[in-house]
């Protein structure tokens, strides 16, 4: 998953790959399903099943309501599905010999380095952006998020970074504030906007 970890990959010469699928004609696809992560996910599904079962069995059932199945039925059923499904997937994963090699997951583009940590960092930045909007305001938050995310995605041309951030922030703020009439939080800029008599 991580950038530093070298993972084996399986080339699946499926019909899609034969005609180029993601990578174009002549290219093949990489199916980097790491058995350990697959197993961890299956175990997580089992744990989720156990939790859902416990919570659903503790759901209060009101008396004097005619309801043959009751509020516990569907969640308990789902809990059982998670527990059994997770168990089957875990067992199947353990029985598989090779470390990698199932064509179940969505492949990365072949011939291009793939980094799980890059995706994780993008997710982390997105969470920070979500927290930044109500605190520092939409404009500052976006002017921080877009350049940081572009930098993370290996964009190094300052002109592209600055222009993209400024144009996107201005365009979306104008669209929401002036066209859609949606109030986006301005944070510290709120007072400044008030001074110039601009709509908030």
């Amino acid at each position: 998953m991580g950038r530093g970890k070298r993972s084996h990959a399986t080339i699946c010469a499926s019909d899609r790959a034969a005609v180029g699928a993601v990578g174009g004609p002549g290219r093949t696809e990489v199916y980097p399903l790491d058995r350990r992560v697959d197993l961890a996910l299956a175990v997580s599904v089992m744990i989720l099943g156990a939790l859902v079962l416990i919570i659903s069995l503790n759901t209060s059932v009101p008396p004097r309501v005619i309801d043959p199945l009751g509020p516990r039925f569907v969640p308990s059923f789902l809990g059982a599905v998670f527990a059994v499904g997770g168990g089957v997937i875990a067992a199947r994963t353990l029985l598989r010999r090779e470390l990698h090699g199932s064509a179940e997951g969505e492949p990365d583009e072949v011939g291009v380095p793939a980094s799980g940590s890059s995706a994780m960092a993008t997710m982390g930045l997105s969470v920070l952006y979500m927290l930044a909007i109500p605190t520092v305001g939409y404009i500052f938050g976006t002017l921080l998020f877009v350049p940081a995310a572009l930098w993370l995605m290996k964009v190094r041309r300052m002109r592209t970074i600055v222009a993209t951030s400024m144009v996107y922030t201005a365009a979306t703020y104008a669209l929401f504030a002036y066209v859609a009439g949606v109030d986006l939080p301005l944070g510290p800029l709120a007072e400044l906007v008030g001074v110039f008599g601009l709509p908030r």
Binding site: R3, K5, R6, S7, A9, T10, I11, C12, A13, R16, V19, G20, A21, V22, G23, G24, P25, D38, L41, T59, V61, P62, V65, I66, P68, F73, L78, V81, F82, G85, G86, I89, R92, E98, S102, A103, E104, D108, E109, V110, V112, A114, G116, S118, A119, T122, M123, S126, V127, L131, I133, Y138, T142, A149, L150, M153, T160, T164, F176, L184
Partner: protein, 507 residues
Amino acid sequence: MEAFGETLFGGIGLFGDPILWVLLIVGTILGVIVGALPGIGATVTYGLVLPFTFLMSPVEAVAFLLAIAVGNQYGNSIPAILIGVPGSPATILTVLEGFQLHKRGETGLALGMAYLGALGGQIVSVFFFIALVIPLAGLAYVFLTPELFALYLLGMACIVSLTGLSIWKGIVAAALGLLVGVIGLDPVTITPRFDFGFRELRNGLDPEPVIIGLLALSELFRQSRQVFQWGEVRGAVSTKFPSVKQIRRVTPSLLLGTVTGTLIGAIPGAGGTTGAMISYQQAKIISKHPEEFGHGSIEGIAANEAAQNAANSGELIPTLGLGIPVSGTTVLLLSALTLHGLVPGPQLATTRPELLNGAVAGLLGATLLLIVTGWWMARWMIKIVAIDRSVVLVLSIALVILGMYTLGGVFAVLVCLIFGVIGYFMIRYGYSVAAAALAAILSAPFERTLRQGLNLMDNSLISFVTRPVTAVILLIAAAVLIFGVAQLRSQRREASASHIPPTQQSS
């Protein structure tokens, strides 16, 4: 026949509205642009624009979203032909035939066939859509709770076609979607479930952040794993339109693709890719030049493109006729309608027939726009693939977050991000996000109709089965399930047959 005319001319009548035209133009251009960007499909685009549809009327929202779908299907063929990269799985056969023609210097022929196939298929399929959706919507009056339950069960059975290669992972994914619907007040006893004392969870999770997280944000996160550009247009690009003789030659394949695409598209879970594959095979069978298939066949391109575009109309038949979405895009289409307070279900088209008019206006209007501008746009779209992919990804993520924030504040963004991260792992490890999204939208009505139906039938499940309409729907559900499982097994066999031991490494 009267209802057919009302729906068709009702849709055409909407063309008098200038606002609708603005939305159609924006939707069509946006659709073509994102279609030309490999990897950013109609589903992701729907996820980006969904919050904006709140500003529109339901009819405008339907027309706008369908204009995007039409533009997207057409735009898909451009990178497929010019750089050999399909914008979506359904375009793989266009790569196979069109890229060959481009390499031989016959780019105009390939683009022209894609243009004719896509737009011809789209326009003809609209009439099939109207002809099929009206009788289906007319059944709505015989639907009581047991019939509704059977219908939602059919929707659940359709999930099998979206499960991916592992049926167990598909079942777990669907269960996750169903669990989303369980959160909130119980539909019969009004008991709070899975709200953990949080006020925001008391009334359940809104489906939009969940579905956009699962279908759009997850895919954007997945794509952020890699940094590369889409590709370069190699060789000269001639834009000579196909001759009348060539157009006459592909007409049977085009019509066959249209009929097949519409009908297959209407089968829940089958979708445009299956329709395109079947149409391609049929075109090869009826062709006088089957030897050209795989080496630049114009009939192959026409059949494939016609089927893909016709599937747009086909998918709408169960979606608007019965309220059963059959793909990621139709799940989001119904989500857009729920934003306006409409309840997806078999009564949707009968209580709000103007939605069918909106669908006709969207499909026909976007097709007409592409007939006029599509050929010119194809030449322009060559430049689109030069846009920095990283910029597109980052701005798409920012736009999803902004859309969610305007829709439901920080909580909606949080839910969307959580399901985006869950969806990322699901995509990576073969748990179908489409199955989870479809289950999430069907979950609450499925449980409600099951339990209320049992109350209505004196707790007798047998009474569910013995009602004629319910029995027919349950039989169809069983057939869909059996067909889906058989198809899944065949796909698994193919996948293991083509499995080659690891030879490459990726970091």
